[in-house]
């Protein structure tokens, strides 16, 4: 896939870090403000997609990104299930909130909810990025 003009590349250089950080903020503050794992994961994958759309990519890089995003998606899904299973081990039932709850409105509060949000964020971000890469690769094949 080819890149875009120098204007788009410069703006992307300035913005992509902010978008990535905003996604991480949405994920980690999912239990305090609106948002959470799903929304933050979509924003993180959007930052990666913006990078590829602006700078373009070769087939080898796309394949590497494809492999890594598959691995990260599986890691996120497994993390989510394992957090739930730890509740079964340490407490009494699946999805038991085994961590101390803390105070309301603090960042480290409400038990396992931030951990679950992080796991879902990794999963959703990697999954959407993998879908984008697959569709981009198909367009690459069609052009040839």
């Amino acid at each position: 896939m080819r890149g875009m003009t120098i204007i788009v590349k410069t703006i992307t250089k300035l913005l992509v870090g902010l978008i990535f950080l905003y996604g991480i903020y949405i994920i980690t503050h999912g239990h305090l403000t609106p948002g959470g794992g799903f929304a933050g994961g979509v924003i993180i994958s959007a930052s990666f997609i913006l990078l590829i759309l602006a700078f373009g990519s070769e087939e080898i890089k796309e394949r590497i990104g494809y492999i890594y995003s598959s691995i990260f998606e599986s890691i996120g899904g497994l993390l989510f299930v394992f957090i739930a299973l730890f509740g079964l081990l340490l407490g009494s039932y699946f999805f038991y909130n085994f961590l101390p709850k803390g105070k309301v409105f603090m960042l480290f509060s409400s038990g396992i909810i931030p951990l679950c949000n992080v796991a879902i964020g990794i999963k959703v971000g990697a999954g959407l990025f993998a879908i984008f890469l697959a569709i981009a690769a198909t367009r690459f094949i069609m052009k040839e």
């Binding site: 239990h31 799903f38 999805f95 105070k103 309301v104 569709i135």
Partner: protein, 177 residues
């Protein structure tokens, strides 16, 4: 309450017809009856959002089924196959599992409130107790990740499966030329 039972019985009957009938077009139509009666049940128990989704999915499914049947064949050829030993084994396992599931579900369903009766009871409990019990400022996060963790696990599974499906269809490696 009586209309709920009528719809449930109609959907069960339509499901049996959909499995047993020979003409595949009629089978697809009776599958549609099942889906639309489920949609009406959703409206009756005050879940209009689910009803909208159900109607959309059901219309699409019936259209896809009918399109495939019109392109291929009307007659179900799998009905008159002879039963082998393996078929009896699988059917026996199915019946045993069904009996166990019935026993466990009867003991579990006794604990639940009456079907569709105390509307919004659980939601009001979440709103009243969620803030002190979970200590999450965002109540939506408390509901989707603590009270209703299974729902979120199901959603994550749906997303995972759809990603795997897309990657399987669009993959490069192992594709036949």
């Amino acid at each position: 309450m009586i209309e709920l039972y009528i719809l449930l019985i109609a959907s069960i009957g339509a499901g049996i017809v959909a499995v047993e009938i020979k003409d595949l077009l009629a089978s697809a139509i009776s599958l549609g009856i099942v889906g639309f009666s489920v949609a009406i049940i959703f409206i009756l128990v005050q879940a209009p959002d689910l009803a909208i989704v159900q109607i959309v999915v059901e219309v699409l499914t019936v259209i896809i089924f009918v399109a495939v049947i019109l392109k291929t064949t009307h007659i179900d050829t799998t009905l008159e196959n002879k039963m082998e030993v393996r078929d009896y084994l699988t059917k026996g396992v199915f019946v045993i599992f069904g009996i166990f599931f019935l026993i466990f579900s009867i003991s579990a369903l006794k604990e639940l409130p009456e079907f569709g009766k105390p509307i919004m009871k659980i939601a009001s409990h979440y709103l009243a107790k969620g803030f002190e019990e979970i200590k999450a400022a965002n109540q939506v996060a408390a509901v989707i990740l603590d009270f209703r963790g299974y729902d979120t696990l199901g959603e994550a599974t749906v997303l995972f499966t759809s990603v795997i499906g897309v990657l399987t269809i669009l993959r490069k490696i192992g594709k036949k030329k």
